[in-house]
Symmetry: C2
Amino acid sequence: MIFDNLNLSDQISADFFDDFSKLMTFQELPSKHLLHCEGTICNHFFIIHKGLARAYYHKDTKDITAHFAIEKTSITAIDSFIQRKKSRYNIELLEDSSLSYINYDDWKKLLEDKPHYEKYARIFLENIYIDIAERIEDLLFYSAKERYEKLTHKFPSLQQRVNLGHIASYIGITQETLSRIRAKK
Amino acid sequence: MIFDNLNLSDQISADFFDDFSKLMTFQELPSKHLLHCEGTICNHFFIIHKGLARAYYHKDTKDITAHFAIEKTSITAIDSFIQRKKSRYNIELLEDSSLSYINYDDWKKLLEDKPHYEKYARIFLENIYIDIAERIEDLLFYSAKERYEKLTHKFPSLQQRVNLGHIASYIGITQETLSRIRAKK
DNA sequence: CGCCGAGTTGAACTGAATCAAGAAACGTGG
DNA sequence: CCACGTTTCTTGATTCAGTTCAACTCGGCG
């Protein structure tokens, strides 16, 4: 089930999945394909079936990874999707991938037609909140090394699949520091 | 309107406020009163009318402020409130305050009876998400001094009303560092 | 008056950034 | 299949922001 890793399954009704799936479009796309481009409003919510995507943005001259999405997880430029503002994020594929997306208007319409589905949007956001709150705590209290270990524990496959520089920026350190962390263990 | 600072007003219907207000209990409580105690499940969602509260928790021997709530903003141990798990947070008043709260069961029942109100829960969470994402960016990219300046710009009154140590822990630095930042300007 | 919490200041230390140079791996075209 | 350029990764030397530890000041307040 595509929602497995969204921690929603147990709370969500089957008919929602039917409705939702009907609105989704399936695609296979190659590595490096840009799913969303900065400066535009993000109109899609993606679910990755196979492959890997990352959301990133530019800070000064640097390229900062804000989010990774592996199989069975979702990705979008969420602030833009929610607020309908231009996004600072790009979303790109890091591997040849297959995915589905729903677009904003369809999603919005689904919520209007069947307002009881608002519940799932709420639950989804609650789960995001829990994740992101944990990330703040990580930044406040854990060393570079500990943050790296937590990440690789949570997503073991990332180490092999993603550039060191992307991982480093995700946990808020330079790639030199991450290289040194990897070296001594 | 109590929801002013929640950025909800323009999107929320009047009858919701009626329903919601009917479920709320008003209280006046003195400074240092504990609104919620760690180790228990948080059953209340508070809105501060007057005064000031903070949520904090213990990390090693330290007391870390996770959130401040001034007039017209809300506070709860949100992870516990959402997940129905024991909370690591305490919530205490830092000034004599007047506030209202709604309890979890009433809130849940309201959502069940009138599921279209789910929308407001979603919007509330969306707003929280935007805030918290900004906080991550602050921690990643801004110096201690810049974080302090952003906070005092956002909540000018905090400087006078709250201990230096609480502010320091909120922005992720020691109180010595914050003292030095204040000294040189 | 003496204590206590809050804030300040100094000196030494440290984790991570920065700058700079190489080494390895990768892929593209001949 | 090799050669070359590009991107990715490593390693070293230096610097710096912020921590830690410790001592000291200041303003209430019982």
